[in-house]
Symmetry: C2
Subunit: 562 residues, 2 copies
């Protein structure tokens, strides 16, 4: 293969692909049209009755796809997730993929979709990357309806004695809009509301997104919504959605959004694409309902978690498995030689040049994540996503390193070849599962103190030496104990680029301290967010946003989406 090959863009490949009617895809899963709520010919929600009915069925085996710490070189985790699903499908396994829904904000801002790439994509990618079935719009609406109800409560006499300086519920838009990060609302005089500081998060950072993705059914969703903290009163006691009495209305707004969305890959493998919370201030996985439902419909479920294994997989394994009540059977850790070289100190501009030294140094990042997965009692396979710039010597070196440290490894070419490029990976994953080596347990007990949970993650997952708590965090720990929140799992908000809390320390840093600056109770989601640095919950647009190139052609077909 030559470097000069002109690759087709993702949207070109997607638009050339011929989809099957979603009814036909559903039929392969023994679902009839009555089990579906169609959204056009190629998308459907599964009905509540069907999801309910499936719960008593035996579960298939869940395979988690994670990765090394992300770098600007790109790893292709979603692409491998889709490609592995397609490969299992090609091997005639009954398989489903479970993926997150993309957020519209980044789509309008920075080129780059979230539905896989090349010949390993879920379709219809244009719809999935735009409004899809409206789930995120429903979440935005519920989020902002709650905000309006809080401000209305202030305006109408403030019976709950909410301290307007301590309202923690922010508004949301599913867009990149930096001007909304910090705002003042309620201006214009007494009839226009109570002036106060406020801010907007991108919808994927709304607690409602995390709640929807951890809820097990509609009633559980309602309970979680009721538990959400919106403010503190003048006595500094938490005020919840239940205190406002609007959990029913919010649940009503989310009654369709909670149903997972059935789509297909280019190779007609069925996929549930549903939910997409942030992987820092939330847990970064598709909905629990999608993963569990997929496991009832198929023998194998391939799913992914956000960012690297230190964030996404850790939360998948410590938070999501507990909330949803399942155990995974195996993990795939995605890496590329390019990204490993960056972890080994090679600059992005130098990635096209061979660097055995850089690769060796960067391999340590991969090795750490493999150790982490082992510490959860899970077998794994390393998937090296091949790039055309990888030299034979680099590939050979990496395979030798994996062998030296007993890391099972397979090369994949799913971007170029779809499922055919992931057959050896699929076979290796099946082999690992058949050996039955999974002995999964979360890394900490819920009864551990919040400090201990954090320390366990910092030491066992990040490889750090210790944790320091700011004076604010220490005060919060005491409050949380008093409010009865100590038994919740923790959700670490840390830079995704490094195992440490310093984004410039790539590779495998050691002997570092993680500083906990602040805690944030997400009581509806059911976890305590642990902030170790600045977390951006509302991205901005770049100088030349992707929106400038977007258009529709004369027939209404999308142009300029990736």
């Amino acid at each position: 293969m030559s470097v000069n090959v002109k690759f087709k863009s993702d949207i070109e490949i997607a638009q050339e692909a011929k989809m099957e009617p979603i009814i036909k895809i559903a039929a392969e899963l023994n679902l009839t049209e009555d089990d579906l709520e169609l959204y056009g010919k190629y998308k459907a929600k599964l009905s509540s009755e069907t999801i309910q009915k499936l719960q008593t069925k035996e579960s298939g085996k869940i395979i988690l796809v994670t990765a090394i710490n992300p770098t600007p070189a790109g790893e292709g985790k979603s692409t491998v997730t889709v490609g592995l699903g397609d490969a299992l499908h090609k091997l005639n396994k009954k398989v489903m993929i479970a993926l997150r829904e993309p957020s519209l904000g980044p789509t309008m801002g920075i080129k780059g979709g979230a539905t896989g790439g090349g010949y390993a994509q879920v379709l219809p990618m244009e719809d999935i990357n735009l409004h899809f079935t409206g789930d995120f719009h429903a979440i935005t609406t519920a989020n902002n309806a709650l905000a309006a109800l809080i401000d209305n409560h202030l305006q109408q006499g403030n019976e709950l004695r909410i301290d307007q300086r301590r309202i923690v519920w922010k508004r949301a838009v599913d867009l990149n809009d930096r001007a909304l990060r910090k705002v003042i609302v309620g201006l214009g005089g007494p009839v226009q509301g109570v002036p106060r500081e406020d801010g907007f998060d991108i919808t994927v950072a709304s607690e409602i997104m995390a709640v929807l993705c951890l809820a097990t059914d509609l009633q559980n969703l309602k309970q979680r919504l009721a538990n959400m903290i919106v403010a503190y009163n003048v006595d500094k006691e938490p005020v919840t959605v239940a205190d406002l009495g609007v959990e029913g209305a919010l649940t009503l707004l989310l009654k369709d959004a909670i149903k997972p969305n059935l789509v297909q890959t280019i190779e007609h493998t069925p996929a549930l694409v549903h939910g997409g919370p942030f992987a820092n201030i939330a847990h970064g996985c598709n909905s629990a309902i999608a993963t569990v439902t997929a496991s009832k419909l198929a023998d194998y479920v391939v799913t992914e978690a956000g960012f690297g294994a230190d964030l996404g997989a850790e939360k998948f394994l410590n938070i999501k498995t507990r909330a949803a009540g399942f155990k995974p059977e195996a993990v795939v850790i995605v890496a590329t030689i390019r990204a490993l070289k960056m972890h080994g100190g090679v600059a992005k501009s130098e990635l096209a040049n061979e660097s055995i030294e850089g690769l060796r140094a960067g391999f340590e990042n991969l090795r750490k994540h493999a150790e982490t997965i082992q510490s959860f009692g899970l077998p794994f396979v390393v998937a090296i996503n091949k790039f055309i710039t990888d030299t034979d010597k680099e590939v050979k070196t990496l395979l030798e390193l994996c062998e030296k440290y007993s890391l099972p490894v397979e090369l994949t070419e799913v971007w170029e070849k779809g499922g055919a490029g992931g057959i050896s990976l699929a076979q290796r994953v099946l082999e690992v599962i058949e050996k039955g080596q999974s002995n999964f347990s979360p890394l900490y007990q819920l009864a551990d103190s919040i400090e201990d949970k954090i320390t366990t993650i910092v030491q066992k997952v990040y490889g750090g030496s210790k944790v320091e708590f700011s004076s604010k965090a220490k005060k919060q720990l005491a409050d949380f104990e008093r409010f009865g929140w100590s038994n919740l799992p923790v959700c670490m908000a840390k830079t995704q680029y490094s195992l440490s809390d310093n984004p410039t320390r790539l590779g495998r840093p050691t002997d570092f301290t993680v500083t906990v600056r602040e805690l944030k109770p997400s009581i509806g989601a059911g976890f305590i967010v642990v902030l170790t640095g600045d977390v951006m919950t509302m991205p901005g647009l770049p100088k030349a946003p992707a929106a400038l190139k977007m258009d529709v052609d004369a027939d209404g077909n999308p142009i300029g989406l990736f």
Copy 2:
């Protein structure tokens, strides 16, 4: 019928009704499944190809339903629209209804839906009143994407030299949220954007809503979006969406929202429910595409316009017919005896008592609207929506008054009886149409000056004596002349409660002056908004919002929606 009868609520009636699969409803219109994009079993969008294909077909006859000036007593315009459609359906006419989509904001705030009432409703009312097919969410998103792109333009160097004090594009949410009326955005320092005053409108007040509802196809939509004015530069020249170069992206976000939504009434009459702009700062009618498409699919289309005939019908006839290129055949003017009594000075608390005098006085409001419809060259029928509190003597008086002034009139009972309660109205409307008396023309020429257009409406539609322009409005008129906007129709923003610009002057006020305070160019929509008073473009929530009663039952069925 006794006053003590316990009526079922709208939602109870709706949930007891048995819907037909929408595919079956479509089949009656000679549409196949390939013409539809299904949203579940009971909602569908018509495909772009189908809409395109229908354009060459002959058009059916369009019947506009309008009303007297609204009062707190209620008139039931949407209910009559649905009931008349059902009655024509019962008479075996090939008929379609075209209605606006309701906004979620008022749904969460104040009990009262917008999908008809009683046995004259469109279904599934819960879905239509909540997220429906996502059209309003797409509009909200396009509106706010544009706002984010404007603020990003400021942040990234402001090449267009936008005067940040003169940005006229506001953000939007489809909620009642008074705290967002006046806000300051961009706070927090240089990396968080440029601080400036801003505000949010409810989505139905977004110019994009008006644009979508007047666009004739996707390319026309794109052109209208490109024409929208977002700001003025430091030289006070308008800055448009085209200057920002993002009309393609906005069109892409609206590519599905532009397709009309097919649903059915309780009696299985097909209905297109699509779009819903404000009737003050916009033109207050369902989409042009829905009305025109309905006229290609059916021999009769029953559609409505917002508020009374002075606002909704005037704009339907002067703005929408021109943009969409059709002529209506007949008009129905809805009134109730209760509402007429209020126009005649009877207090709301006294409406249950007979008041012949009040009725006689209030009848003048109805008579004025009938004259207005005649001035457009259109035949009409007055529909008196019967209430159980109407006395025989009141009914007799009203019929005599109608006879005296030669107003064709029919009593309807569509709320209680559905189509069966509207048969005589339907027969009378058919009679009027068969006589072929329609000689429709708009009331003014586009070449008339903006002042003359306004004066024509004030004198011929409102019955006022003259128009005064504030100094601000006069200066704007000069600017608009210079910008080449004088040939656009005008869109009057006036109180809906009175024919005058004073909401307390009910009945038929005379010898009044209308004061034009300010003009607002909606160049994408293609009209100049004429502000004659304060217009609320972001409603607030009441002390006890409807949201407090909303919920889902154990099976996920909505509770507490009307």
